[in-house]
Amino acid sequence: MKIHAPLAAETIFHLGPIPVTNSMLTSALVVILLLVMAWLVTRKMQLIPGRYQAMWEMVVEFLLDLSVDTAGKKVGRIVFPLIATFFIFILTANWMGLLPGIGPSIYVEVAEAAEHGTEIVRVPLFRAANADLNMTAAMALLSITVVQIAGVAVNGVKGYVKHLASPILLTPVHIVSELSHIISLAARLFGNIFGGEVLVTVMYSLVPVVVPAVFLGLEVLFGFIQALIFSVLSIVYIALATAGGHEENGEPAHAAAH
């Protein structure tokens, strides 16, 4: 039996010049779903919350505490929307990827360019959003860009450059390290989710009952862990990039000595 599990997301249709892939569809779906859910919570907020509102308040408060505890009150509060959205989006996308209908269950037939003309292939209509490197790379790029911006904003351009070039000889190492953060964030999330999807698919084809359920349960756990890791690492990188400023503000004499 041949299991078809391409690394790349498949194009479903073209929206003007844009080739829309199945993972782009899913991520759009997740975005719309989350916006609707958020609108439902805050449409009529109650001082005495219902269960739905209380759950979201708990989530928001947990993520705010995570940001503020790690990066300090000022920076933490500013980057909190980004960190919280990382967590909420990744978690929702991961868990939605486990639902029937997403992943290799609903297929559409599309024409694909092949060596000799076009070829009709069956591809899943929806693909877990984080099983596409474009999605995870986009978030990782955003995360590390914000890290650099935060570093400049808190330490100033001079402080940022000094941070990157101390000692001078290690400057390339620092730059590579920053860039590697993008790759590690993107690849880790993609690898876990894509790998999990492949694993579940393989299990379905080997033992169609009971066993896949066990792996689906594990995927629920992994989906949560990956969401947490991505947001925690992002806030930690931000905290590291902005920590120097706090030290310098705290010890002006020490800064002047350099």
Partner: protein
Amino acid sequence: MDKLGINPVALLWQLIAFSLLVFGLYKLLYKPVLRMLDERAERIRKGMEDAAKARELAERAQEEFEKRIAEARKEGQEIVAQATQMSEKLRQEILEQARAEAERMIAKERERLTQEREQAMSELRAQVADLSILVAQKIVGVSLDEAAQRKLIADFLREAGDLK
């Protein structure tokens, strides 16, 4: 890159979708929820403050109440004591008055009795004199003139009175 499926269009699409979500959730979720959390915290803080204030107020009112009660009790006791004292005084006065009245009446009565007795005595004395003259006339058979007799009897009676 192509093998991994990375292409700029998809990357940009996902970046825009995600940024849209960040913005949307900020507007629709984080801001209102945090505002609500702050508002609730503020309400609770205020509620607790109010409760403390109310308790303090109640305690003060209780104290005031107890003070008033104590004052009223003291006042009542004073009034009762005063009334008792006054009634005692009144009783004494009435008693005194009654006693004085009684004494006055007794004295008056005694005086009247004395007067009556004296009157009776003087009457008796006159009668005794008359009777004596009569008896003497009967015995002696002669009559002295009345004036001399009377003098005699008066002398006698005086003597008798002196003797007594």
